[in-house]
């Protein structure tokens, strides 16, 4: 079943948390870009991508994540991620996105800056 993509931005101290919801495919670009503009406006040095509500990512979706990652790096903003399923941790490792984005098991671990989970340790 296709689920339309949406994202909301929340703030926690120095971190802007982007809750990603639904399918990340080529149609998610505009919404992701709008959400990142919110993050930029708020001027937080760290962005946390929360994949908890994501049920599907295709290759166009991964490309959008990489584009967002590049934009954030261009703005000197760190990008973290959390709540990735094992399947997508593997995809992120294959595509080597994890070379530049630390993957945390959940939001609290990411916010605490605690131990990266296995996906990021493989790199």
């Amino acid at each position: 079943m296709n689920t339309a993509f949406d994202t909301h931005v929340r703030l926690r101290d120095d971190v802007a948390i982007m809750d990603l919801i639904g399918e990340i495919n080529s149609g998610a670009g505009d919404r992701l870009e709008a959400a990142y503009s919110e993050v930029k406006r708020d001027d937080k040095p760290v962005v946390l991508l929360n994949f908890k509500g994501v049920d599907y990512i295709n290759s166009s979706g991964i490309a959008l994540i990489v584009t967002l990652l590049a934009r954030a790096r261009n703005d000197d903003r760190a990008v973290l991620s959390c709540n990735l399923s094992d399947h997508y941790k593997e995809i992120f490792a294959i595509t080597r996105v994890t070379d530049f984005m630390t993957v945390y098991p959940d939001e609290s671990a990411a916010l605490a800056g605690s131990r990266p989970d296995e996906a990021s340790q493989r790199r």
């Binding site: 909301h8 931005v9 929340r10 703030l11 802007a16 809750d19 080529s26 919110e38 993050v39 930029k40 406006r41 708020d42 001027d43 040095p45 994949f51 908890k52 509500g53 994501v54 049920d55 599907y56 990512i57 295709n58 290759s59 166009s60 991964i62 490309a63 990489v66 584009t67 990652l69 590049a70 934009r71 790096r73 261009n74 703005d75 000197d76 903003r77 709540n83 990735l84 399923s85 399947h87 997508y88 593997e90 995809i91 490792a93 294959i94 595509t95 080597r96 996105v97 070379d99 530049f100 939001e107």
Partner: protein, 271 residues
Amino acid sequence: MPLSPEPPEDKESTVTQSPEPEEVAPAHTLIPRDAEHWSKPVTRLEVGEVPASAININVTGRRVMGPVQGFGKMWQKTYRIGLGRQAEPREVILEWKKNFSLFWPEGANFYGPVTGIAPGEVALLNLSMPGKLKLSTGVLVLFADDEAFTLMTPQGHMFAAWITFTSLEYEGQTVAETQVLLRANDPLYELALGMGGHKKEDAFWTHTLSSLAAHFGVEGAEVSTKVVCVDKRRQWSKAKNIWHNSAIRSGGYMMGTPFRAVARSFRRPRK
């Protein structure tokens, strides 16, 4: 901290300081429906059988490189052509995968696996370059389903890139699209991109899409091109990628051809 942050605007109205959403079962506990569409983890690439005439270097044993691992500025290039109502998007992707190399310009050879374009397969590329150089490189099929497929390049390729081919309904017609997310792999390729490489890249995909359209009986349709510089910084820590530069290695291989031929003649068993 960001070096040049945009001035903060009305925070209250743009970003909500809301509590974390309610705890619900994560959507990802479901069985992934796309597992079969992705390549399995690949540490080092291996090329299958290729014709004897093909130059098979620069691929076997190499790692894949995404746009994150490249050296140069990051570009997103989107090429699109309208196909009218000649075919449904799934038919377009099916035909594109089946005849992938036929749509490429002359001098560019794609030696795909006999099983066709499928996730995890590795294809060899031989590309004619200026100075009669035959550049040997390859691609990994990272993702493939009925609506799209994505190729990822190896170490030494001109670009650290993902190239996604897709077809979709847009404004009442079927369109075919190639989207390339790339960084030049090393400083030499970055220089080449600035000295006509971008134009060649654009011409390559324009030709490919026009040929695909012609395959579906659409002649003379215009290819639209949208180019965005996603990250203008160069990643100097990746300058060492030049060690695997496929143009340098292919050139070295070609220069060594006469010597290898002589060496082979000495190795022939005497009767």
